[in-house]
Amino acid sequence: MVKTKNDPVRWLKENLFSTPWNTVLSIVVVIVVGLFFKNLLEWSFTKARWAVIPANFRLLMVGPYPLEQLWRIWASLIAISLAAGFSWGTSTRERPLARAPFVLLGAIALLALVWQFGNPSGTLVPVACIGLVAGVFIGRAIKTENRVHYYLWTVLFFVCVFLIGFDFGRGGVPSSLWGGLLLTVLLSVVSIVASFPLGVLLAIGRRSKLPVVSGFCIVFIEVVRGVPLIAVLFMAQLFVPFFFPPDFPQLDKVARAIIGMTLFSAAYMAENVRGGLQNVPSGQDEAARAIGLSATQTLFLIVLPQGLRAVIPTIVGQFISLFKDTSLVEIIGLTDLVGIGEAVRNNPDWLGVTREIPITLGVIYFIFTYSMSLAAKNLEQRLKTSN
């Protein structure tokens, strides 16, 4: 058996050319796929004007964010790398250090040094990489409790949001200047972070025995789930301003989009979480009450942890779809990654360059969503082993 697996000719015969029909199908598929890749490669090496990407790299990353304020982004990035390294180091302190990620990091750092990402401040990419590695070693050296990491990330979240926009006396960066990948990530991170607790609360509320609470939760969940996200976003953009008097300071567009997406995502989250809660056998609940835990303790110590664990894949799936759904904000005039891609295509210098940008954006989206599912897989495995 082992030999047949390694024998390519045999494998081909058994799997692709076993019957005449299979042979024809294989040949057709090979031709179609071959032609596709031939044309794609031919186009990308001869016709494509990839120069559009480095020339507009900063724009794709941060949009119209002012150059002289870019240090805010770099400071946030370096802080995040340090913290990420720290958490990573802590979580792997029991195991030997894997080499592959460091090789990858080194390659990225080197590439950044050589290519500069079309911008002199690209030299800060290696700094961020070094920060990450330093974080790993700190994490492995210092023994910390899980709690420390929760606090660290909560604080870091607010520090970064603050850093990106706050006025330090020399003028802040209004949210109208946030764009590109920065805005996409910000929108999704804030919406994900905010919609998770809200979703859990709604799920618990829906199971409540108080008719007012459960009624409110049911109405909210069903109404929001019955409306497309795009309608929620339009509502937030076009109607919310009329609820305030004309000279009233307007809630800015980014905040409105975040609120819309959070409420939308929370309704779906609630149903996912409720599925998980229903999955917990009632014996668990009864046993917890029997040993004298209060209703709240039962919920937070027994039911929720088990319920949430069961629905991690669904929840991550929802986060991934929320991440991709942020691209809808383009139609309400926010320049997220997709919006900025459209804007670059309409720069007169790059008119007629139509395919290069969507392809690049696809790759960026894939990197993010795939990392998210890898992280989820990792989390699932860890929770399984700790069980």
Binding site: G63, P241, G333, P348
Partner: protein, 346 residues
């Protein structure tokens, strides 16, 4: 719930809505937008960020383009500083709401000035900054000389605009059968055109010129000379605010007037020594035209110094040295056969 609770609830609701109404009325009756802008220290200008030449983000992330330059002009007129602008990118759907809700002060966003928009939407329009019109482009080898020669042909355009309606109306008027096919955006229209799925494409002639100029082989396309619709593009702002309307109007007019009297961003400082009363009045050295709008007497100097006269703005963004290379035709000065004509500064 007893009657008393209901009554109290109703009373409270009425009180709240009444107070909100009073606030809104008080706010709308307050000062002109000009005072709001001056107090804020910045102009908030609604623009397009996805239209080559008119409003887009350059590689440095700065808003740029023909419409954007006029935003800078208004800021220069109010503050003497063209950089005091915050840009708000607006979609076609959101642009009128943004004015109605007071989110932006003025919108320069390739918007066609029409009676229904002026009458029903609750905005007022400023002077026309660009005379556009819907045209038709065919391949150079096409035998069609006039749009009516395209009887039975497939004409492609993008969705969600009035172009589809215009071409259908035109066909009905001329009793010709056009097969109109729409695509979600104009890149797809051009791709279909190049693949021979469309015999002709139609959109605003500025757009056609831009597409032709940036094509791999511009000579492969021919734009027909006929125009089938009027698309005058103008800025707009909240209605019934004539002081603010004056500021926007005369900012635009000062660029047109400067071209008429041969003043531009380079020679306007030297013109201060001129003895010509027309020039002296424009520069605010005689008379006080700007004062009436709540601006300085020499606001036009600030405008022209910051963004140039109309010709400079046009050439910088749409002219022969740019990739778009849109011929001026209707947008030439009246002395050159165009429609641009500014009332006198006096």
């Amino acid at each position: 719930m007893n009657l008393k609770t209901i009554a109290i609830g109703a009373l409270a609701l009425t009180a709240i809505s009444a107070s909100i109404a009073t606030i809104s009325v008080a706010q709308t009756q307050s000062n002109s937008r000009l005072d709001v802008v001056k107090k804020r220290g910045k102009l908030i200008c609604g623009v397009n960020d996805k239209l080559a030449g008119f409003g887009f983000l350059d590689s440095n992330g700065k808003y740029s383009g023909f419409d954007v330059d006029f935003c800078k002009g208004v800021a220069a007129a109010v503050f003497g500083d063209a950089s005091k602008v915050d840009y708000v990118p607006l979609t076609a759907a959101a642009r009128f709401t943004a004015i109605q809700s007071g989110e932006v002060d003025v919108v320069f966003r390739n918007t066609t000035y029409t009676s229904s928009r002026d009458g029903e939407v609750g905005v007022d329009f400023g002077p026309i900054v660009f005379y556009d019109g819907q045209g038709v482009m065919v391949k150079s080898e096409s035998p069609a000389k006039r749009i009516t020669d395209l009887d039975g042909a497939t004409i492609c355009t993008n969705q969600g605009t009035t172009t589809e309606q215009n071409i259908n109306d035109y066909g009905r008027l001329k009793k010709k059968q056009f097969k109109v096919v729409t695509y979600s955006d104009f890149d797809k229209v051009m791709a279909a055109f190049d693949q021979g799925r469309c015999d002709a494409v139609t959109t605003d002639s500025s757009g056609l010129a831009a597409r032709r100029a940036t094509a791999a082989k511009p000579e492969a396309y021919r734009i027909m000379s006929e125009i089938i619709s009027k698309e005058p593009l103008a800025p707009f702002f909240a209605q019934n605010d004539s002081r603010w309307a004056d500021v926007v109007r005369w900012t635009v007019l000062s660029t047109i007037y400067a071209e008429e009297i041969d003043l531009n961003s380079r020679n306007i400082d030297g013109a201060k020594t001129s003895g010509d009363p027309v020039v002296r009045r424009f520069l605010g050295l005689e008379g006080n035209s700007g004062k009436g709008f709540g601006l300085t007497a020499d606001f036009a100097v600030d405008v022209v110094k910051a963004i140039g006269n109309y010709k400079e703005i046009y050439d910088r963004n749409l002219g022969p040295k740019t990739k778009l290379h849109i011929p001026r035709t209707l947008n030439a000065n009246y002395e050159n056969g165009g429609l641009l004509y500014a009332p006198p500064f006096r």
